[in-house]
């Protein structure tokens, strides 16, 4: 038997119930390592659904999309989408968005270091100069807008506590969230549809004037000055 033939046979035995009883030890370790990683990377989902449910759905995801990158701290980029089409979770339509925010938090937490554009960087620019400015999102800035569901509130609430009892007070309307890392730690703030569209347009390389038009398109009553001020305050742009 060649070395490769052995490894292939062993890998097959990991996926089935075949082979020596002690194979179970390796099966358990591999499964536990992958599920533990998802548990660590999706803490808000974990709190919303409970540990037992989380680990059983994570086991299904793991079988479908095992890690292709050795860095388990980043594992699970396909998990939100999996949850979105997971039939038994259809009564929790916000789960996919909350999972996306968990994954965006991981991305923000591990993104490259860079200075944020100071919040007063645009003070004193004439309107026509402002419109031509090209602002680049900070490497650790991540954002998400959900047109129907308050995913930001659900997510931040789940990150902060185990207590889901007062979810009844939440307004079930569309919501966005902005994650930034201007200092050492990831922080977050609510984001409007206009603010999210503004930042997305900047990320696509558009000048601020075009980004403002995109913001108004997404949210006709958008307060552009307030949206921009919030982005600057949160450190959403990289220093030039």
């Amino acid at each position: 038997m060649t070395h490769t033939t052995f490894l292939q046979g062993f890998e097959q035995a990991l996926r089935t119930e075949a082979g020596h009883p002690a194979m179970a030890v390796y099966r358990n370790t591999v499964m536990k390592g992958r599920i533990d990683a998802l548990e660590a990377n999706f803490p808000a989902v974990l709190r919303l659904v409970g540990r037992e449910w989380f680990r059983s759905v994570a086991a299904l995801y793991v079988a479908e999309d095992p890690p292709r990158d050795p860095r388990l701290v980043l594992y699970g980029d396909g998990f939100p989408e999996f949850l979105g089409r997971f039939e038994p979770a259809s009564e929790l339509p916000y789960l996919e968005g909350v999972a996306r925010l968990d994954h965006l938090w991981v991305e923000s937490h591990t993104a490259a270091d860079a200075k944020a554009l100071p919040h007063d960087a645009l003070v004193g620019h004439a309107p026509e100069q402002l419109g031509a400015c090209r602002l680049v999102p900070h490497p650790a800035a991540r954002w998400l807008w959900h047109p129907q569901l308050p995913i930001g509130t659900l997510w931040s609430h789940s990150r902060a506590s185990d207590d889901t009892a007062d979810l009844g007070d939440i307004a079930w309307v569309g919501e966005g969230l902005l994650l930034t890392r201007p200092g050492h730690e990831v922080q977050w703030a609510g984001l409007t549809a206009g603010g999210a569209a503004l930042l997305s347009a900047c990320g696509e390389g558009h000048a601020l004037g075009e980004a403002a038009a995109a913001a108004m398109g997404a949210e006709p009553e958008c307060d552009l000055a307030a949206a921009l001020a919030l982005l600057l305050e949160q450190g959403a742009f990289a220093a030039a």
Binding site: L7, Y26, P66, R68, P70
Partner: protein
């Protein structure tokens, strides 16, 4: 600084680790957890590194795989080594990747001459990419395999001779494997080529819920039997950088430090 005993470093202990001073104290982390572009995780490690020696312990190079180490992964390890300037770099006598899929475990294989050549080539590649010597660790075994052409000790020695790599001897893994496969842990230690020894690992183990197997769980204090084996070893080798390895059920930092004190024994007083 001469390394004495170290402990595994977990994020919840960063602040205490940064404040603690002890003769020869060092910390070991899993390299993969710090292979990120930036952010607080890397910043923490750099802060620790500014006041303590750090050891990078890799778990995913898959040196005993059937392919060369993943190029991107090796580059990230090399970048981390340049950034942290670790006192030690280590990996395992195991595989954890096949056809691009990763298995978070240290998987076994028959120690054939083909496997030896493959692994020696992978260690060469790694040492070239890092520009330094790495240490290879003996894993825990659970499964009897057919087709071994080499004993584990001879296989490790041959890797060291061929590649110039060092060895990391995990005494708990020797104990667990001897129990599970039916071997003699003392004889293993006595046959171990200690001239290549760069580091020792000590950890706790558990008992499998269903099978008569010990599990290298890293979730308990080092057992009395493993301490006895350790003292037997260092009576022969003299002081070796020794890690108290803990990855699960991680206790308070002070508890780990107290366990570490037990590894700071004078070899002259250690019972053979």
């Amino acid at each position: 600084m001469k390394l004495t005993a170290g402990v595994s470093l977990k994020p919840q202990h960063f602040d205490e680790a940064e404040r603690t001073r002890a003769d020869g104290l060092w910390f070991e982390v899993h390299a993969e957890n710090y292979m990120v572009a930036g952010g607080p995780r890397l910043a923490w490690l750099e802060r620790i590194r500014s006041c303590h020696p750090v050891s990078l312990h890799g778990v995913a190079l898959s040196l005993a795989g059937d392919a060369v180490p993943d190029a991107a992964h090796l580059q990230r390890l090399a970048a981390l080594v340049r950034r942290i300037e670790p006192a030690l770099v280590s990996e395992h006598l195991a595989w954890s990747r096949l056809d691009g899929t990763y298995f978070p475990d240290l998987l076994p294989f028959p120690r054939t001459t083909e496997a030896l050549q493959r692994m020696a080539a992978n260690i060469d590649l790694t040492q070239q990419a890092l520009g330094r010597r790495i240490a290879i660790e003996n894993p825990s075994h659970y499964l009897p395999l057919d087709g071994h052409a080499w004993s584990e000790v001879d296989f490790l020695n041959e890797l060291a001779v061929r590649t110039g790599c060092g060895l990391l001897l995990d005494v708990n893994n020797v104990f667990v494997s001897a129990h599970n496969l039916g071997g003699d842990a003392l004889a293993y230690l006595d046959a171990f080529p200690v001239k290549h020894l760069m580091e020792v690992h000590l950890a706790g183990h558990g008992v499998d819920a269903n099978l008569p197997l010990l599990i290298d769980s890293h979730d308990a204090p080092v057992s009395a039997e493993v301490w006895r084996l350790y003292r037997h070893l260092i009576a022969r080798t003299g002081p070796v950088p020794t890690l108290i390895e803990r990855d699960d059920q991680v206790p308070a930092f002070d508890t780990l430090l107290a366990e570490r004190e037990l590894a700071c024994v004078d070899p002259a007083e250690a019972l053979p």
